[in-house]
Symmetry: C2
Subunit: 147 residues, 2 copies
């Protein structure tokens, strides 16, 4: 069921996968370094499991609670136009969820961040957020800790 | 919090949004008509709600159970390379989840279906599936009914 056909080690097994914002039992949340989408977080399962349906019902429920916690923190801090959630894993078949705050002014809106750019954004996106990334990380971590 | 700034009615409030495969209390599942990705389903909330975190914990749990049911049916019937899950709603801010069976041979793999095509596929993707779409729809509906 794995998409990987090479012997290369999984990068989410061997590296944090980004700037670690929170670690809990079996899961971590990182912030991606994306200039166009600064409020781009990933919820990553520590174990190497490909699909949501491979998890036990308890682990699925925990995944949902953590996803909702990140989403809520982003909404409360940033008042985004929309939250985008996605779990693909086509390149890295190790369960991870993208949680992205999207804004009507961002470079790709209303396209997905994996789609076609619609406009250039100046000043840079990070300067348009209503708080700093440090404040955002702290709010996300606090929400996860309470989840 | 709505992304819609026009007075146009929401298309997921006024139309089924695709070929209806299953209807349950508060939710429906449709199959999108996508030649490149024939095993492309959407789980749609009947009510007009934008974000997962707007739902009650009970409705969030139901959403998860239904998502997992669709994912499991697609995996069992098709043995895909990967399942892709996504909730964007940038264009239609009415909660709906994309559940897509992806294959290493498909037109965009390993890119998301919203990304850049990687190859042309002949014979057409639907002919490469290990069952018919009618059989697939029936398996998805049965899994949802049991969820």
């Amino acid at each position: 069921m794995s998409a990987s056909t090479s012997a290369a080690p999984c990068e989410l097994c061997t590296t944090p996968g980004g700037h670690v914002v929170w670690r809990g039992e079996g899961w971590r949340v990182i912030r991606a370094a994306d200039e166009l989408f600064p409020a781009f977080y990933r919820l990553i399962l520590d174990r190497h499991v490909a699909e949501l349906s491979d998890l036990s019902p308890e682990d699925q429920a925990r995944c949902l609670a953590l996803l909702v916690a990140v989403e809520r923190a982003l909404r409360q801090q940033l008042r985004p136009t929309k939250i985008n959630l996605a779990a693909f894993g086509n390149m890295v078949p190790h369960l991870h969820w993208h949680v992205i705050a999207r804004f009507s002014w961002d470079s790709h809106f209303p396209q997905p961040v994996w789609g076609t750019a619609q406009r250039s954004v100046q000043p840079p996106a990070v300067q348009r957020l209503s708080c700093t990334l440090d404040q955002l990380d702290a709010a996300v971590a606090a929400a996860l800790e309470a989840a």
